[in-house]
Symmetry: C2
DNA sequence: TGCACATATGAGCACTCGTGCATATGAAAG
DNA sequence: CTTTCATATGCACGAGTGCTCATATGTGCA
């Protein structure tokens, strides 16, 4: 049985390499977890929120002002980020003041920014 | 004029903090570039491809075997990754052998994996 | 208790994206 | 040149997503 390659006559050129590669790929659940993290960082609005929070603690209203989307939209995105433990918040009276969950998140952000910046400067194509 | 907040009576609680936050957020184009990178990492299939390539140099057929998607599907995803300079390839006869563009990509991957793994272990909810 | 305000949630919509099928391009072999 | 095979591309479809509007929840104040 040949599972995937419908048009390819051979399943794998180097089956040993394939086996090794399969070995290092995490299981479905972990892979999904990693993908969810990156997906969360892969939206301009959420990026704006996170980068803003990497500089200042802000409430939802202020984040709406920073991002330029509605309060509802910000709240929806914050829920996504909260569920992934990318941001945390504490109530200050009526307001909810958000911050990055930990500096790990900030590192991820700057790593991504670095890679993007490299492409910005010396893009070969 | 109150641009964004339709339901919020006040635009911003701390306008100085908002201004500082806006100051650190990159411009639209750069933000899009960063988001594109993270988005590319935010798909399980592309993650499988990248993690596999972080271990072995593989051709398209082998990547199809590793990921379990069709050759066409892999090729489509590889184009995305190529356009973002996340992977590179060289022709070996008829085959195209892919590899990570640089170790920067591997670092990003493991950073994301680390964060996901933390949540896996000590998830409070 | 009743009002005002900040945030969260639900529904609906437009849009994007991942995928497979069919097919085109390209490269070696006969 | 023709054939064969690996890879790339165009098209279409189903699923997921980000947004706003309307509304619910919750918090503090008179």
């Amino acid at each position: 049985m040949r599972p995937a390659s419908a048009h390819c006559q051979i399943d794998s050129v180097d089956s040993a390499a394939v086996d090794r590669a399969v070995g290092v790929v995490p299981d479905e659940a972990r892979l999904k977890a990693i993908a969810d993290i990156f997906s969360a960082l892969g939206d301009p609005t959420r990026l704006r929120i996170l980068i803003a929070l990497s500089c200042e603690r802000l409430c939802v209203c202020d984040l709406a002002a920073v991002t330029g989307v509605s309060q509802s939209g910000v709240s929806h995105q914050l829920r996504v980020l909260r569920d992934l433990d990318l941001v945390a918040f504490e109530r200050m009276g009526k307001r909810a003041v958000y911050r990055l969950a930990d500096e790990h998140v900030g590192i991820l952000l700057s790593q991504g920014a670095d890679h993007a910046e490299e492409r910005f400067g010396g893009d070969g194509r």
